[in-house]
Amino acid sequence: MKGTNLGEFEELVLLTIATLVSDAYSVAICDDLEKRTGRSVKLGVVHSVLNRLEEKGLAKSKLGEATSARGGKRKRYYAVTNAGKAALLKAKDLRDQYWSVIPEFALKSI
């Protein structure tokens, strides 16, 4: 397994998967990310990140049911694995830790 450290975008994608719960497939993730972050998110980038997350074992996927939309192609739904959840928590903890030790005045003046 490659390193379990999460990149910033990887973290966002993983969080989006968690948010969308049972509707987390590539296009939806893309849209949601665009909506929340306000940046333009390319499908290709999301795809490669999803692929990487799956390779790292942080997310898992399964094919859904075939519908008449999407040219009859099935969607691939993603879900966060335990390892993914752990990685997310670890990242959050790390941040909280920092926030807890930053003196109040340090960021106030900026």
Binding site: L43, H47, S48, L63, R70
Partner: protein, 878 residues
């Protein structure tokens, strides 16, 4: 939700996606793209959506989406390839003799192939440094006098044509003119250096990409008395000083100003010069010479046109024809046709007369290429022959491979790989041979050395490797095909009974072919050498022995002559303007009063009163010239051909004396009639032609010094030291007459050398092949021989038994090749070669005998070895 037929994404893009994408990712990806597509159709319209779809498909071509190649197949191929290499390596090592024969044979022939590739790559890289090389054309002319076509196109055309093209033609963008000849002694300060070059017009720098280091390309060749030097000549004349703007004196006469320095010309430029003079100078100098701008003065000017891209060449040719029609009436009985020759074809194109410098020529390239091909073919035969011969030992291997599951193409692949391996081994050896041969090859003929460099470059090495692979594939293909057709069941059941090995016809044919090639090469070499000796020692009708021709190079004859005549070794000195019988022609027009309209060309030489006795020309009637101080020309000596051509005095030499003829617009009295001699080169068809000898003591260009000495070298250096006293600038240029004649036939000598070399190679290769065959066939019959021996056969009978098959093949080869050679020389070569020596059959057989002797030694030694083996030892190990 029915999809309209129109709103589907581009089908080809979807196909592309499904072609490259991993199957496990494909469905999802396709679906996503489709969803986006539908969305885009609504938002941005169908066309844009399609475009985005295509771009996205292309963008998804990433490392993680691409389908891995059919992994298993590739793996097998890889494993098998290494297995092939391993087995091939083992076979090569196991049969060192056969492998050596194959590798050495291929290497020898490939070294010639490498030379050929080098020559080709050199010739093809000529003139490519010109930026517009594909758009530059040269104007060539075809001269026709009295409807007599001489079939020769000239690389030159006339100044008149150049001017007309420049002024009236619309198609050419620029017209560059080079005019012969701007050569002589150049004096800069105290230094005098002889340099040579051309007159040229300013457009030269627009047409060609000669780089002008200093000076303005637009004006450097514009004004009269401007001279452009190459870097090298500038250095010679001025050293490190700035040359631009300096004055130089040309031939102690006119003064010129240096207006440009040109970068030294690349080796691969068909135009070579030291200096260029502005053409406008020539126009001033030759102002009074009417012939300068004559339509039929097509001997001195090279015209190069820069045409626009996609120029209409047919239209240009039509313009040329119009020009000819317009200008032809200005000269009598003459038709001159102009044509175009692309710059890129100059080196490898048709063999034109009057080239600006040496060229390779199509015919020599073709001949050399064909000979190379024959030699390589011969080595390829060896490979095919030996591989099939040895197939007996390898059929089992192939059978087992097939049983295990190898397909036909796998076996084919295996043997081709093996052949390529061997040819790559041969390449390394061939490369070493190539490096060794290179200097010899370049020194075969002086012109070759000027033309070719044969420098190694990465691209050349790549060509070499490519060449080796091609040779390997071609040589290995037939054996490979043979092996791939083997029937596994048959070979595994019973090797000895399989019918393959009874069919030896092809092998026999190949051996006969190889020996035919060898014999043809060797006999041709012998014949060509005989011709060379014949021409060098040819009876020209006068004597050339011990005559040293010293070129005066502008010096006065008298002083040098006086000094030289004081040497005790010098038996006589005469003077002349040219050397006959070595391929030089000086021509002029002649008329005879009996037929005033009929003027015809005659060749001439201007000599003094000593010339005829010194060269022992035979006078049939009349007398020799008498010494005469005044310069007016009044007497002439003609040969029999002149009497015949003009029908003077019914061709009776005695009566022709005192007849008046008009030579070069002067009325001259015939004082003597000489016997015909070979004015041209002895192999020329019209070498024994109409010649007049004219008298003048002033116009001499060279001294003919007859020497009688036991130490010619010492005498030569004595003469040289005298020369140095009078001329410090020019090194003495002197050659013995016989050596000059030999030089005139240097081309033939070069051909003999090449043919001899190739004959040697062909014989080597054929012998190697024969050796392999003999060794093989004797070894496979070892048991049979042993049994025969036990039963009482003598060594002699065994020798006969083993050798007779091969002797028969050699006999057939001889019977085929000798008539072919004779036919070739009688029908093809000799009609082109006047005055040739007759074919001498005994000498041809000598060559054949040589080849056969080598073959006999090969067969004899091997069969004897087998015949002498102890039968007990062979039969014991059953």
């Amino acid at each position: 939700m029915k999809d309209d037929l129109n709103i589907t994404p581009p089908r080809w893009a979807t196909h592309l996606l499904s072609w490259y994408c991993k199957p496990e990712l494909l469905e999802d990806l396709e679906g996503d793209l489709n969803e986006y597509f539908q969305r885009n159709v609504k938002a941005r319209g169908l066309r844009k959506a399609k475009l985005i779809y295509v771009i996205d498909v292309l963008k998804f071509f990433r490392l993680y989406t691409i389908r891995k190649p059919e992994f298993v197949n590739l793996l097998i191929n890889w494993i098998m390839l290494s297995s092939y290499i391993k087995t091939s390596g083992r076979t090569i090592v196991r049969n060192p003799l056969f492998s050596m024969i194959n590798i050495v044979g291929l290497a020898i022939s490939m070294s010639v192939g490498l030379l050929m590739i080098g020559v080709l790559s050199d010739t093809l890289s000529y003139d490519k440094f010109h930026e517009h090389h594909s758009r530059i054309y040269r104007v060539t002319s075809h001269y026709e006098y009295l409807n007599e076509k001489d079939g020769n196109f000239m690389a030159t055309s006339s100044l008149r044509a150049a001017r007309e093209i420049k002024e009236t033609f619309s198609i050419p963008e620029e017209v560059a003119i080079l005019n012969r000849e701007f050569s002589g002694d150049i004096k800069a300060g105290e230094k005098i250096i002889p340099l040579s070059g051309f007159w040229a017009n300013p457009a030269l720098f627009k047409v060609f990409s000669f780089e002008l280091l200093k000076g303005n390309p637009a004006t450097a060749l514009k004004d009269p008395f401007s001279i452009v030097l190459t870097e090298k000549s500038a250095k010679k004349l001025f050293g490190t000083e700035e040359a631009i703007g300096k004055a130089i004196v040309f031939n102690n006469d006119k003064q010129y100003t240096v207006t440009g320095i040109i970068k030294d010309l690349p080796t691969f430029s068909h135009i070579q010069f030291d200096i260029l003079g502005s053409l406008s100078t020539k126009e001033i100098i030759a102002k009074d010479d009417k012939s300068e701008l004559a339509w039929d003065n097509i001997w001195n000017t090279w015209v190069y046109l820069l045409l626009p891209k996609d120029a209409n060449l047919a239209l240009l040719k039509a313009n040329f024809d119009e020009l000819s029609k317009r200008e032809d009436p200005t000269v009598k009985h003459t038709h001159i046709e102009l044509a175009l020759q692309p710059l890129d074809k100059i080196m490898i194109g048709d063999d034109l007369g009057n080239q600006i410098g040496p060229v390779m020529g199509k015919s020599s390239l073709w001949i050399f290429g064909a000979l190379t091909f024959v030699v390589i073919l011969s080595a390829g035969f060896n490979y095919t022959n030996l591989s099939i011969a040895r197939s007996l030992k390898r059929t089992r291997e192939v059978g087992i491979r097939k049983v295990i599951g190898a397909l036909k193409r796998d076996v084919l692949g295996q043997f081709v790989v093996e052949a390529v391996m061997i040819s790559l081994c041969a390449l390394t050896l061939a490369f070493i041979l190539f490096l060794l041969l290179k200097p010899y090859f370049l020194s075969i003929e002086p012109s070759v050395q000027k033309l070719l460099v044969l420098d190694l470059s990465p691209s050349l090495l790549l060509y070499f490797i490519g060449f080796a692979i091609i040779v390997g594939i071609t040589a290995g293909f037939f054996p490979a095909l043979f092996f791939s057709r083997i029937n596994a069941v048959q070979v595994l059941k019973n090797v000895a009974n399989s019918t393959f090995f009874r069919k030896l016809t092809m092998r026999k044919v190949l051996i006969v072919l190889q020996y035919c090639i060898s014999i043809i090469f060797i006999t041709s070499t012998i014949i060509a050498y005989k011709q060379y000796r014949h021409f060098v020692a040819f009876d020209l009708g006068f004597k050339t022995e011990n005559i040293l021709n010293i070129y005066l190079q502008g010096n006065k004859a008298d002083i040098l002559r006086k000094e030289l005549s004081e040497l005790p070794e010098v038996k006589g000195i005469s003077q002349s303007v040219m050397v006959t019988s070595v391929g030089n022609y000086w021509g002029t027009q002649m008329k005879y009063h009996a037929n005033p309209i009929d003027s015809a060309g005659v060749y001439y030489n201007i000599v003094d009163e000593n010339y005829i006795p010194l060269h022992e020309h035979k006078l049939l009637a009349g007398r020799n010239f008498t010494a005469k101080a005044d310069s007016s020309e009044s007497e002439v000596i003609v040969n029999q051909q002149v009497l015949k051509r003009f029908n003077i005095a019914n061709q009776d030499p005695a009566k022709a004396i005192d007849e008046i003829i008009n030579v070069d617009r002067k009325d001259l009295r015939i004082v003597g009639v000489m016997k015909d001699f070979h004015y041209g080169r002895a192999n020329g068809r019209n070498s024994r032609t109409e010649v007049v000898l004219r008298y003048s003591r002033k116009d001499a260009r060279l001294l003919n010094v007859k020497i009688q000495s036991t130490d010619l070298l010492a005498t030569y250096s004595k003469i040289e030291s005298i020369w140095k006293k009078y001329d410090a600038v020019h090194p003495m240029e002197a050659k013995f007459y016989n050596a000059q004649i030999e030089e005139a036939f240097a081309g033939l000598k070069g051909a003999v050398k090449i043919a001899g070399f190739l004959a040697f190679l062909a014989i080597c290769i054929a012998s190697l092949g024969l050796l392999g065959m003999v060794v093989f066939s004797t070894e496979t019959r070892l048991k049979e021989i042993s049994i025969r021996k036990v039963l009482g056969a003598s060594e002699g009978t065994l020798l006969y038994l083993l050798g007779k098959g091969f002797f028969l093949l050699l006999a057939i080869a001889t019977c085929i090749s000798i008539p072919v050679t004779i036919l070739f020389f009688e029908k093809v070569a000799f009609p082109e070669l006047a005055n040739h020596a007759p074919l001498s059959i005994p000498e041809m057989f000598l060559g054949v005998l040589g080849v056969l002797l080598v073959a006999l030694i090969m067969i004899g030694s091997q069969t004897l070895k087998v015949a002498r083996t102890n039968p007990a030892q062979v039969l014991k190990s059953e």
